[in-house]
C-alpha cells in the first residue's frame, strides 16, 4: 500500500469515527453542536462589530 492510500484511508476512518461519535450522542447534545456549528460562520463578523 502506498503512502497516499494510507493517508486517504486514515482520513475516511477519522471522518467515519466523527460521524459515529455524533450519532452516539444524545439528541440534546447533538442540538447543541448543530446550534454552535450554525453560529460559527458569523464569528469573524462578530469579532469586529
Amino acid at each position: 500500500m502506498d503512502g497516499k492510500l494510507v493517508k486517504r484511508l486514515f482520513k475516511v476512518g477519522a471522518l467515519a469515527g466523527l460521524v459515529a461519535l455524533y450519532f452516539s450522542l444524545d439528541e440534546s447534545t447533538r442540538r447543541y453542536l448543530v446550534h454552535i456549528g450554525k453560529q460559527v460562520p458569523y464569528l469573524p463578523y462578530r469579532y469586529f462589530i
Binding site: S28, R31, H35, Q39, Y42, L43, Y45, R46, F48, I49
Partner: protein, 501 residues
C-alpha cells in the same frame, strides 16, 4: 463645540453607571431616557397604591455595585439599602412538592440530603469549585474588558487560573449541572438559571451553571423597589453634575461619515456630543439609530446574526392577604427536558407553553411598604419563556387570555384561593416590553447568551465600526442582569476615559 462631552441614550443600569463615572471624571454628560422612569428593566412603577417591579426582581453579586460607588468616591450604604432575602428560593415541583434553599451552604446540604442523598457529594464539589471561582475570578470576570483577543489574553495573563474554568465555558449548561447531580428534582432546581442568561439548559454556556452557587453569596432586595438601585446611582451621578432628561426619545445618531457626533430626538431637535453611549439593545442601536445604510455590509451581517433571548410576559398581582409562600422567590420547576422542549417549541413553532418554569416574586415579604397596609404584591413570570409571535395570533389579542392563564397557574401551584383575593391584576406582554423598553421582540434578557455570543463575540463596548460610539448594557459583554449591566457600564466608561487620554 459640541453641546456635551458625552450623551448617553437610555437610563438603564449600564447607561447610568457609565454616565455617572464620566461625570465624576469631569465630563459634561447628559442621559436621555425615553420613558418617564429610570432603570429600564430594573425599575418600579406605581399603580393604585402598589409598586410593581418592571422586570428585575433581586440583586445578587453586589461587587460591581460597590465598585461603582467606590469609583464615585461614595458608599453604597448611603444611597441604597439592600435587604437580605433568605431563603434564596422556594421550589414547587410539578407534583406539588415544596422545598427551599437557604443562603447558608451547610443548611442547603441538609436540604439536598433530605431529597437526594446521592447528590450531596456533587453539591459539595459544586459549591467548592463555585466558591473558588468567585474568589479567584470575580473581579477579573466582572470588570475586565474582553472586546479583543489582546484584552482576553491580558486578562488571562493577569489571572492565570482562568484556564481552569475554560471547559465550563465550552460545555453547555445542562452537561455541567449533570456532572454534579443525578436527581431530577435537584437538576430542575439548578438548571432553570440558564433562562436568566437568556438560553435553555441545552444551549446556554456551562459557566452559567454556577449562577445557582453565586446566589448563596446572598441575594438582596432594595428597599423601595428595584428602582431604588438606579435612583441611588443617579443621585451619586447628579452630585457630580450629571444631567438626566426623561420622556425624551432618541430617533437617530448624528453621523459625520462613520463618526458619531450626537443624537437626533423624536421632535427633530439635535444634541451634539463628542461621545455617544448607547444603553439600548445593540440591534436597535446599529440597525435603527445608526441605520444599515451607514454600515458596511459585514457589520450589518454581524448584528443581524445575533439571536435574541426569550421574551417573558410579566403578570403583576396585588393581593388583599398575605400569600402562603416561603421565600422572596418561588420557582415552579420542571425537568431539564421540559425546559428544552419549551424553548424548542417556542423557536420552531411559536407555541405558548402550558407548563414550564414559572417564577413568583413576593417583594412585599422584604419590603411591606410597596403595597397598601395589609396588602401584598406578586410579580409573576408565568410559564416563561413564551414566544414573541404566538402561532396564528398576537399578544395584544392574547392579553386577557394570558391573564386568566396566569391566575389558573397561581391557583394550581401555590395559592388555590388566589382568585378571591386579587385586588389588582395587570399583564405586560412581550409587545408591551418592546414598546416600553425598546427591547426588540420583548427580549428582556437582551441578546441570546451562548458560547458564540459571549465576550469578544458580543457587540463591543467600543464600536469598531462607528468612531465615537460606545455601547453598554445587556447586549454587550457580560449580558443581562443587575450586576452584569453595572459592570458593563464600568467597562464602557473606562474605554471612553482611556480614549480621551
Amino acid at each position: 463645540m459640541a453641546d456635551y462631552d458625552a450623551v448617553v441614550i437610555g437610563a438603564g443600569l449600564g447607561g447610568i453607571t457609565s454616565a455617572s463615572l464620566l461625570a465624576k471624571n469631569g465630563m459634561k454628560t447628559l442621559i436621555l431616557e425615553q420613558s418617564d422612569l429610570v432603570g429600564g428593566c430594573c425599575s418600579t412603577f406605581e399603580s393604585q397604591g402598589y409598586k410593581f417591579d418592571v422586570g428585575a426582581s433581586i440583586v445578587e453579586i453586589v461587587h460591581p455595585m460597590d465598585k461603582f460607588f467606590a469609583l464615585m468616591g461614595r458608599k453604597r450604604e448611603d444611597y441604597i439599602e439592600l435587604l437580605p432575602c433568605d431563603p434564596i428560593y422556594s421550589f414547587v415541583t410539578q407534583d406539588g412538592r415544596r422545598f427551599s434553599y437557604p443562603t447558608d451552604i451547610e443548611a442547603t446540604t441538609r436540604v439536598i440530603e433530605s431529597i437526594a442523598p446521592e447528590d450531596v457529594e456533587g453539591w459539595k464539589r459544586f459549591s467548592k469549585l463555585g466558591l473558588e471561582m468567585v474568589d479567584e475570578m470575580m473581579d477579573a470576570m466582572m470588570t475586565s474588558p474582553m472586546n479583543t483577543l489582546g484584552e482576553v489574553a491580558a486578562m488571562a495573563a493577569k489571572n492565570p487560573k482562568v484556564a481552569r474554568y475554560l471547559p465550563l465555558l465550552v460545555r453547555n449548561h445542562q452537561s455541567v449541572v449533570r456532572s454534579y447531580y443525578k436527581n431530577p428534582i435537584i437538576l430542575g432546581s439548578v438548571a432553570f438559571q440558564s433562562y436568566f442568561a437568556g438560553a435553555p439548559p441545552e444551549l446556554g454556556s456551562g459557566i452559567f451553571g454556577f449562577i445557582a452557587l453565586s446566589e448563596h453569596l446572598g441575594i438582596y432586595y432594595p428597599r423601595g423597589g428595584m428602582i431604588s438601585i438606579p435612583q441611588g446611582m443617579l443621585k451619586a451621578g447628579r452630585e457630580h453634575g450629571l444631567e438626566v432628561r426623561t420622556g425624551c426619545k432618541v430617533e437617530r445618531l448624528i453621523l459625520d461619515g462613520r463618526r458619531a457626533r450626537g443624537v437626533i430626538l423624536e421632535d427633530g431637535s439635535e444634541i451634539t456630543a463628542d461621545v455617544v453611549i448607547s444603553n439600548v439593545n445593540a440591534k436597535v442601536t446599529y440597525l435603527k439609530m445608526v441605520g444599515p445604510e451607514n454600515l458596511p455590509g459585514w457589520a450589518v451581517r454581524a448584528i443581524d446574526s445575533y439571536r435574541l433571548s426569550m421574551p417573558c410576559p410579566m403578570i403583576y398581582v396585588g393581593l388583599d392577604k398575605k400569600p402562603d409562600l416561603d421565600a422572596h422567590h418561588t420557582v415552579v420547576s420542571g425537568s431539564i427536558e421540559e425546559m428544552n422542549r419549551v424553548w424548542n417549541l417556542y423557536y420552531t413553532k411559536g407555541v405558548i407553553p402550558r407548563t414550564a418554569m414559572s417564577l413568583i416574586c413576593w417583594p412585599t415579604e422584604a419590603d411591606p411598604s410597596l403595597a397598601p397596609e395589609g396588602r401584598h404584591i406578586l410579580n409573576f413570570l408565568c410559564n416563561a419563556p413564551a414566544p414573541y409571535a404566538p402561532l396564528g395570533d398576537n399578544w395584544d389579542r392574547l392579553k386577557d387570555w394570558y391573564r386568566e392563564e396566569a391566575v389558573r397557574e397561581l391557583e394550581r401551584t401555590v395559592m388555590p384561593d388566589v382568585r378571591d383575593h386579587i385586588d389588582y391584576l395587570e399583564v405586560s406582554t412581550p409587545l408591551d416590553f418592546e414598546r416600553r423598553l425598546l427591547s426588540p421582540q420583548g427580549a428582556i434578557y437582551g441578546l441570546f447568551s451562548d458560547l458564540t455570543s459571549l465576550a469578544l463575540f458580543r457587540p463591543h463596548a467600543r464600536s469598531r465600526v462607528i468612531r465615537g460610539l460606545y455601547l453598554t448594557g445587556s447586549s454587550t459583554h457580560l449580558g443581562g442582569g443587575v450586576p452584569t449591566t453595572i459592570a458593563s457600564g464600568i467597562i464602557t466608561s473606562n474605554y471612553v476615559l482611556k480614549d480621551r487620554g
